[in-house]
C-alpha cells in the first residue's frame, strides 16, 4: 500500500501542512513535533511523491539527454539495449551512473522510490544489497543485473554465467600449457568477480594446478588501473606466463603494461580479457576475450522488470551463457 503525506500527518497527529514544512524546512516547527514527524517518516520509509510535487511546483528538476547514437562496448551496449526495449514497450528511461559509489547508489534508489519511476534495473556497486530489502517489501519493482547477492533470492536478476566464463577462460589458458596464470580484477566482493575467480580455481583444480592467491591482483577498474596492476603483478611473480583480466578497461591497460615491460604477447605473456570491445580485433596482438552479450542481458532485464511491475510476485532469475572469442593473444 502506498503511503502518503496524509498518512504521516495522521500517524504523527499533525496536519499535512506541518509535515510538508518539516520535510522542506520552510517554516520553524516545534522541536517535539518535528522529531515525531521525522520518526514517522523513517518508520514508514516515506518519500514524497515526485509527481505531485512536480505538478504543484511546475518544475521537474529533471533534464533530458538525447543523443543520436552510442558507440559500442559492454556497458554502453547494455544501456543501449535497455533503451531500445524500453522504447518498444512504450517506456521512458531515467538514467543514472553511480560511479561505483554505494552512497550515491543508495540515494538514487531512495529518490527513485518516490514513484518517480515504475521500476528499476540496478547494476549494484557492491554485492551487499541488503539495504534494498526495505524497498522490496514496499513492492518497488527492481531487477538486478550483472551483480547480485546469492543470499538474497527474492529479487529477480539477470546475470552472465560468470563461473562458467571464468572456468572457460582458464581452461583455454591451461590448454596452451600455462600453469602460472595471473588474474587482474577491479572490484572486490561482487558476485561477478567472485564467480569468475571460482571458475578459475575449479579449472585449475581439475588440471591439478595449485591455486596461488598471490596471483590475484586488484586495481582500479580503469586503463590506468590495469596498467599498474600488471606491472606490480609481473614484477613480483616473474613465473607468470598468462593473464586473465576481468574487464575491458583493465584489459587495455594490461596490454599497455605488457608493452611497457617490453614483453611479447602472447610469446612471453598470454592474455585473455573479459567483456570484449570493438577494438580488441585490431590491438597488438588482437585480444582473445570472453564475450558478454550486452544486448541479451539488457533486453531480458527489461522484460523481467515489466513482468515484475505487472506482478509483484514475479521473481524469475536468468543466467546467460558467455562465449569465448579466440584471437591471437593466447597463441592460438
Amino acid at each position: 500500500m502506498k503511503i502518503t503525506m496524509k498518512d504521516i500527518a495522521k500517524e504523527a497527529g499533525v496536519s499535512v501542512a506541518t509535515v510538508s514544512h518539516v520535510i522542506n524546512g520552510t517554516k520553524r516547527i516545534s522541536e517535539e513535533k518535528e522529531k515525531r514527524i521525522w520518526e514517522t517518516i523513517k518508520k514508514y520509509n516515506y518519500v514524497p511523491d515526485a509527481r505531485a510535487k512536480q505538478l504543484r511546483l511546475q518544475k521537474t528538476k529533471t533534464a533530458a539527454l538525447v543523443v543520436s547514437s552510442l558507440p559500442d562496448s559492454y556497458v554502453t551496449g547494455f544501456v543501449n539495449a535497455v533503451g531500445m526495449r524500453a522504447r518498444e514497450l512504450g517506456y521512458h528511461l531515467l538514467f543514472v551512473n553511480t560511479n561505483e559509489n554505494l552512497e550515491h547508489e543508495k540515494e538514487t534508489i531512495h529518490l527513485l522510490s518516490s514513484h518517480m519511476v515504475d521500476g528499476i534495473i540496478l547494476s549494484p556497486s557492491q554485492s551487499d544489497i541488503s539495504y534494498l530489502q526495505t524497498y522490496i517489501d514496499q513492492h518497488l519493482p527492481i531487477v538486478l543485473v550483472n551483480r547480485y547477492d546469492p543470499k538474497i533470492t527474492n529479487i529477480p536478476r539477470v546475470v552472465a554465467d560468470d563461473f562458467q566464463a571464468g572456468y572457460d577462460a582458464t581452461i583455454h589458458l591451461l590448454q596452451h600449457g600455462h600453469k602460472h596464470i595471473g588474474v587482474i580484477y577491479g572490484v572486490p566482493n561482487v558476485s561477478t568477480t567472485n564467480q569468475r575467480i571460482e571458475g578459475y580455481k575449479t579449472a585449475l583444480q581439475e588440471h591439478g594446478v595449485p591455486f596461488n592467491e598471490h596471483y590475484l591482483e586488484m586495481g582500479y577498474a580503469t586503463v590506468e588501473g590495469g596498467y599498474n596492476a600488471v606491472k606490480t603483478l609481473l614484477n613480483r611473480h616473474q613465473e607468470i606466463t598468462a593473464l586473465f583480466v576481468l574487464n575491458d578497461a583493465m584489459t587495455i591497460g594490461a596490454l599497455k603494461g605488457i608493452h611497457s615491460l617490453l614483453l611479447k604477447c602472447p610469446d612471453d605473456i598470454a592474455l585473455i580479457g573479459f567483456g570484449d570491445f570493438e577494438a580488441a580485433s585490431v590491438t597488438d596482438p588482437p585480444i582473445t576475450n570472453i564475450y558478454l552479450p550486452p544486448d541479451t542481458i539488457g533486453r531480458t532485464a527489461f522484460d523481467i522488470l515489466i513482468n515484475r511491475i505487472n506482478n509483484p510476485n514475479y521473481c524469475k532469475s536468468v543466467s546467460l551463457p558467455t562465449s569465448l572469442i579466440i584471437r591471437k593473444s593466447c597463441g592460438c
Copy 2:
C-alpha cells in the same frame, strides 16, 4: 504561456472530458467534434502534462536504469559528464538514444515537451533541426551539442571546433608528405562532418594540393562501415597514402580494413582518427587521433541548459578546442 487541456476544451467549445476521450480514444465522440479537437490540439501543439497524467493514473511509464560505471569513449564520456553535472546541480537525467533516427528524435522531443523535463540537451541526428522552432517558441529550454544548423541562431549550442580539428589533422598529414588523403565519414549533412571537411579542404588549399571529391567516402558509422569504406576507397584510389576517419568506430574498422588489405600502417597508409578511444594506444599501430573533450562538452552543455532554464533569453554558444594526440599511425 503553458496551454492546458482546459484551454483546448474552451477553444474547441467542448468540455475537458471530451478532449480527454478524444486524445485517449476512450469513448466514441462525434466526427466533427473529434476533428475540431484534433485541429485545436495541432494548432497549439498541445501535449498533455505528463505529471498530471502520472499522478492520476499512478504510473509513470518510466523505468530507471542505474549502472555503477560507464567505460570511456566519446559519447559515453559525454553522457557521463552530463550525468555528473546534473547530479551536482540536483537534477535527474532522462536518457534517450535516438539511434540516428530523425523520426525517433522528433517523437522524443514531442514527448519530452509535455513538461516531462525542465530542459533538453540534444545531439541531433541531422543538421536540419527546423522542426525545433515550434518548441523554442514555446520556451522549451534546449541546448544543442555536437551538431547544429548554422542558420538557426536562437538555440544555444556547445560544439567542438570541427573546422580547426579537420584543418589540424590534414596539416599533420600534409607535413608528413602525404598528398592523396582520403576522408571517411559516417553521417552526411551534419555540421560536424561538414566543418571537418571544410577544414580539410582549407588545409589542402593552403598547401597547394588539389581537392578531389572522390577521396571522400561515406559508410555506416560502425566498425563494419569503416572496414567496408576503406576497402572501397583504397581499391578505387590506389594513390591514396593517408586516411582521415571522422569517428571512433570507423577508425577501428579502417584499421581492420588496412590489415585485411595486407597494407602496412603507417608505411603504406597513414591513419588519423577523430574522437580518440582508450584502446587507441594499444592498437597495431597506436592511432594518432584528434581528441574531443567529452567531459568539458558535457558539463558546459548542462551549465548552459541551466542558464537557459532560468532565463529563456539566455543564448550563449560555445565552441571548444580539440587537440591532436600523436601516436604512431602517421609515421611520427
